[in-house]
């Protein structure tokens, strides 16, 4: 083969190959689109929400409008729930309140020996003088409860089967109030890790 005919021979060979494989190109565009679509991550509702708020130029005002409307909807939902759903009452019931009045901080242990007692609780200015029950799980007559309290001064008394007992041996002091004794506990003293 002469070198002058080489180019022509190569062209013919390539043309023949393309003609042979031409049917493979049928529907190629559609297959590519399908393939790309399959490889794209699936968009869930959260992705749609993100897309809605995607900050692109020119639509910021619209985005703020959507944002405001969303906030308004949440607010109205809150109003509706507060007004119409009984369980949405924010004011806690008495037992919950006892827990809520305890602040993060020192867990203070209250201990009351009361053998044979049926009902022992502690009342004080940390729980609005509402009874917080003590427990005697092993039945040894030693009733206890731990209440988280923030640093400060607290007055309290135990109530044993309905009778007030304001002289806790573990108290830091005692005061008279309404003619009876209250125990006083200072919470947060250095070295007080009860």
């Amino acid at each position: 083969m002469r070198i002058d005919n080489l180019d022509e021979s190569l062209r013919d060979a390539l043309r023949a190959e393309v003609t042979t494989e031409a049917f493979c190109l049928d529907g190629l565009e559609g297959r590519i689109v399908t393939e790309i679509a399959d490889r794209l991550p699936k968009r869930g509702p959260l992705d749609l929400l993100r897309g809605l708020f995607a900050p692109t130029r020119g639509v910021r005002i619209g985005q703020f409008a959507v944002l405001g409307a969303t906030a308004a909807i949440f607010l109205m939902m809150g109003i509706f729930l507060a007004d119409h759903v009984p369980g949405f009452d924010r004011t806690p019931s008495a037992p919950e309140r006892t827990i809520a009045t305890g602040h993060m901080g020192n867990e203070i242990l209250f201990v009351m020996p009361a053998t044979g007692a049926h009902d022992v609780s502690v009342v004080g200015n940390f729980n609005d003088w509402e009874a917080t029950p003590l427990a005697d799980d092993n039945g040894d007559g030693i009733w206890t409860v731990s209440i988280p309290l923030s640093p400060g001064r607290y007055e309290y008394a135990f109530v044993v089967d309905g009778r007030w007992w304001g002289q806790d041996p573990l108290a830091d002091g005692y005061v008279r109030s309404f003619g009876e004794y209250n125990s006083v506990r200072y919470v947060g003293q250095v070295g007080d890790d009860a």
Binding site: R50, F53, A54, P55, Q63, L67, T70, A71, F74, L75, G78, I79, A82, R90, T91, R97, G105, V123, N125, D128, W129, E130, S150, P151, G152, R153, E155, W164, V175, R176, S177, F178, G179, E180, N182, Y186, V187, G188, Q189, V190
Partner: protein, 242 residues
């Protein structure tokens, strides 16, 4: 989340939601107080509510606390006029720019102990002495005025004009603790003429509170008061109230 602007938007939405619900909760609580008050004190509830609103804004009383008291007052037996007077006394204390948590707490304790409303309100002169709400409010006022006379003032946080100007919360705490200590001394049978004993009791209480971790009172505030307070001053304060 790769795009920080999207993250910011989502945080903003959550912020709107949380602030909306918080505002709503607060507003509802005020409405609950108002409603409970109008049932218990139909004649004077606007006056009391106006004072309470000031107290809420100043952080001197929380809606939940006063609502608890109103509900408790509603359930106990007693003359309606006395229940109203108890709430009016607290309202007047707020109008007089006094801390009231100590008053609310004492009423709560009295109600829990089933003390008659008239004793809670007016106390008892017989032994053991019981200070009523009216006397306790007067004691708060006398202590506050004494501190003013010694040029110890209160101011909102961050607006300290002079070195003896304490933040409102600290000043309220000082007034409450001094008055509370004096009331405990008197109910414990102490004589108002023994100013030195009262001074010991007051200084011990203030210094103990200042010595706590995360103390409600600062040591320098306590030192400032104790430098300017004498046993005679305490006797004068107490005698003016009794």
């Amino acid at each position: 989340m790769r795009d920080p602007r999207r993250a910011f938007t989502l945080v903003l939405i959550l912020g709107f939601f949380i602030s909306g619900v918080s505002t709503l909760a607060l507003a509802t609580s005020h409405a609950e107080v108002n409603q409970a008050l109008s049932v218990l004190c139909p004649t004077s509830d606007p006056e009391i509510m106006a004072a309470l609103e000031v107290g809420f804004a100043q952080g001197r009383i929380e809606p939940d606390e006063i609502l608890h008291l109103i509900r408790r007052l509603s359930t106990v037996q007693g003359v309606p006029a006395e229940k109203e007077t108890i709430l009016l006394t607290i309202a007047h204390a707020l109008q007089d720019d006094l801390p009231v948590k100590i008053l609310v707490d004492k009423v709560e304790e009295g109600l829990a102990r089933n003390i008659p409303l008239t004793v809670i309100l007016n106390g008892s002169g017989s032994q053991p002495r019981i200070l009523g709400l009216v006397q306790r409010a007067s004691l708060l006022e006398a202590v506050r005025d004494f501190l003013y006379s010694k040029r110890i003032f209160s101011a909102p946080e961050g607006t300290k004009a002079v070195s003896t100007c304490l933040p409102n919360a600290h000043f309220d705490c000082l007034v409450s603790e001094i008055a509370g200590s004096l009331a405990d001394y008197l109910e414990g049978g102490g004589s108002p003429l023994e100013g030195y004993l009262m001074f010991q009791q007051v200084s011990l209480r203030l210094q103990t509170l200042a010595g706590l971790r995360e103390p409600p009172l600062l040591a320098e505030d306590v030192d400032l008061v104790l430098e300017r307070l004498t046993p005679t001053d305490l006797t004068n304060i107490v005698l003016a109230v009794l």
